[in-house]
Symmetry: C2
Subunit: 335 residues, 2 copies
Amino acid sequence: MSSTLSIRPTFADIQDAARQIAGVAHRTPVVTSQTINARTGAQVHFKCENLQRGGAFKIRGAYNAMSRLSPDERRRGVLTFSSGNHAQAVALAGRVLGIPRVIVMPADAPAVKRIATEEYGGEVILYDPAREKREAIGRQVALERGLTVIPPYDHAHVIAGQGTAAIELFEESGPLDFLFVPCGGGGLLSGCAIAARALSPGCRVVGVEPAAGDDATRSFRTKELQTVDNPRTVADGARTPSLGSLTFPLVLEYVSDMATIDDPTLLQTMFFLWERMKLVVEPTGALGAAAALHGVFPITGARVGVILTGGNVDFSRVGEWRSSLESHGSPTKSA
Amino acid sequence: MSSTLSIRPTFADIQDAARQIAGVAHRTPVVTSQTINARTGAQVHFKCENLQRGGAFKIRGAYNAMSRLSPDERRRGVLTFSSGNHAQAVALAGRVLGIPRVIVMPADAPAVKRIATEEYGGEVILYDPAREKREAIGRQVALERGLTVIPPYDHAHVIAGQGTAAIELFEESGPLDFLFVPCGGGGLLSGCAIAARALSPGCRVVGVEPAAGDDATRSFRTKELQTVDNPRTVADGARTPSLGSLTFPLVLEYVSDMATIDDPTLLQTMFFLWERMKLVVEPTGALGAAAALHGVFPITGARVGVILTGGNVDFSRVGEWRSSLESHGSPTKSA
């Protein structure tokens, strides 16, 4: 249990994180589908983080960061801000570690995520994402109460923890030609890209965003940090305003390309995964699959990895989602 | 590839079926859930036939039966009648084996099941279940065209094939105290009960039906074959009118008890499996889980098996299902 972490995480830090989270995070399955291989002409390996504890990959980073706190920091507790899955992960990791935790969540987060967070025992503070900034609220409460902030992505231990998903994927799949990773704040993306560079150097790592929240894609192309303000997309896990000060340079250095997916294509892909793979994947969790299935990348004949990042779906919205697809007609391709 | 099958299938026939279907049917995973174990106080092992080829256990029986046909029978082709999953299985097995197949389906079968059947290459004949009997239509077409009928459950090779699901479950779980199996025509139930008697003699095998189609439960209790006429239930895979002449005596001899589940409880259980296990299970497929979670069986401290029989969901109905749950309020227990 080493804490010798540089601010900028390395592959060694990801390997260290893998040891740290062993026995707490699940080693999730890697699955394939004959239907999808036939349709794409590729060999597609899906890393099922929707089957992870807490329903998303986030426990990897949250536990890796929180388990390294000092006894004094643990006693005082932690705080985080998150649209949902990181909140659940901090609440769950805190329960495992016996650490008090305060979660600052947007009031419009899916009810299923808020309820699950409360069930894991976190104290939830709601804010209005159209009027307030979660970082400001969070840092003020943390200061007042002496809490350690566990941010959702811009933290070296969090990034290293998320990268363990890619280590496990490569251990099962072998080297890959492409790896498609959903991108919100870039924690999972940069962690996986660092791991890919070490374990499968020829692999093109592609970050995938919702089209309405394309800040990371624009940041990647312009090489200057771009932001987006509370984007309207069904991908609630990727409504982050921008990459972080830690993740942005990592994305520039390790990621091969970025892609965007519009909401109809994303929902169509999500329902396809439900229908054909019988796996519940949330909209954000289907971003990588959408890029693999509907993108313009030359994956025919390739070995492809896709991270299915989460499965915390608000099923009360399914009717609305299907109606929007029917009114929209055939989804368009974008990449 | 022996064909020495008595009309009344035995455990040896199920073992033979396991060899016959190896490499064609998937060996599906057996999964557990910490949430469900904590909630029930039991160790619950879910056999994920929703992840089976064709989306349901039915390929086991269909392939076992069809792969034993003579060259002449194969050339002439097969016919079946099914509300959906057996139809898909016959279509799929026929594609694998190169056998022409005609499927007689009710016009109100879920569109997703009809479309999948057509995609596998079966010729589909629709009928009105309120006005016509599928057996009569099917046998007439079969006679006219010289087709071999592959019935959905009342056939020794089909029953033996379905029983292989229980062999695989016991191989992973070890002996069980309870095994909950959805029951339509009783093919899966009787096959699994025969396997349980041999592999886990103390195991109580419980067949589970929708409350609106409780013919098998009444047949079990009265020891006389009872029927039900086109029952109204979301469990479309268990709308069968009665047990068969083969399955009824097997159910009487090998099954320990029967339970019924009302539709609200069934839907609530189905959504619980979607939300907590991230597995897409269809209404009929959740019958066994509903009995384990909401039944009156004393499963606390017990080792429990549940067959999740299928995952072919018509997602266009999700909004309607959720509305019906909200208007109904809290589901009631029944067993």
